[in-house]
Point group: C2
Chain length 192, copies 2
DNA sequence: ACAGTATGATACAGATCGGTCTCTATCTTA
DNA sequence: TAAGATAGAGACCGATCTGTATCATACTGT
């Protein structure tokens, strides 16, 4: 049965549209009028679902973070060794960089526009980025001693962030290739 | 002799003020009214020196890029081996991360807000980022074969960018330490 | 002293911002 | 069929945005 007035659908519709617009144009540059116009939604529908624009931004980030985590979880299932699991993460980034609507990292961009610690958007970004670092650490933990794992997971995290920036400047393939090589050097020391 | 009405001074005054405000609050969130107020300058003085706000942004970026390049040039003078020169760059980042008014990378933030290739701001950022990559490549060129140097310079570039992002999340010291260790692994392979 | 220039102060234009409000229409549930 | 919840459409608010125009003032070199 079709449910044209399903609140959950409208809500998701707004999140999806906001996600696309924020990705393409940034947060401050995207007005609420544009979001509701492209989402085909009334303004009050948006403000009934999200108290403020900042709250909408946070929900968009959380939604994408959940999507990202679920994706990496699934990819990791198909890998056995730590090295293979790291590889699946590079695989995901590689495909992401090649996607037609790649505009850089939504979270890094949010950090650029909301750089004040304590701001809801800033905190949402920090949470997601730390969760990626934790994922890397969990993968590398069993493969080397603790100090090495902490250092290596941070390094790979930084390589991924840097690669994303290079990708936004049109150097995605090269970036991912060199990041993989670097990760190999870093990991080669401890787990051969 | 004091020159209260020196055009060059006013111009620099605007660039300096805009730099601080852009760093602290971002580009779209910083209005021209705020810039001229904090620079103690009339609006027309600003628009006579910079045709548009975007043009001012580009000039701020160029000014900081020149400052950055000059700094790294000077630091490199005191180093002899490629490894030492790379270290001076890490040194600079380390001190930058610890500075009281650190708000992340002005250029990365500009890329976040002006992600359209061909936009003057985007192009200014790409030029500066590529110039840093070229610097790294020039340093590493003599120390290893060409393919290795290209890969290693990109890797160190990515580590620096990632470290800057971590620093913005309050993890600067850890980031720079782990980035240095990673760089050591990467360089250790080729130049011992 | 004079002409030319840069500046400050301020009002203004036209658009857009985030957010609120009202009113009507449509759906769901009972 | 009636009550209640949700939606759309759009006017509206005050503030702010980039950029322009005006005009008096203060400094410059000659």
């Amino acid at each position: 049965m079709p449910r044209p007035l399903d609140p959950a659908n409208k809500r998701q519709q707004i999140i999806d549209t906001a996600y696309e617009l924020f990705s393409r144009s940034g947060y401050h540059a995207t007005g609420t009028d544009r979001i509701i116009a492209e989402a085909n939604v009334a303004k009050m529908t948006m403000y009934r679902n999200f108290s403020t624009k900042d709250a909408l931004i946070v929900e968009v980030l959380n939604y994408r973070a959940a999507h990202f985590d679920a994706r990496l979880d699934r990819l990791a299932e198909g890998a056995s060794t730590p090295r293979e699991k790291i590889d699946t993460i590079f695989d995901w980034y590689e495909r992401w960089f090649m996607s037609i609507d790649f505009h850089g990292c939504l979270f890094a961009h949010a950090l650029a526009e909301f750089g004040e610690p304590g701001h809801p958007v800033f905190d949402a970004v920090a949470e997601h980025k730390n969760s990626l670092k934790d994922r890397l650490l969990r993968i590398l933990g069993p493969a080397m001693n603790e100090d090495q794992a902490i250092s290596a997971s941070d390094a790979i995290f930084m390589l991924l962030e840097g690669a994303t920036l290079m990708a936004q400047m049109g150097q995605g393939p090269k970036a991912i290739r060199h990041a993989r090589q670097a990760a190999s050097s870093i990991l080669g020391i401890a787990d051969g």
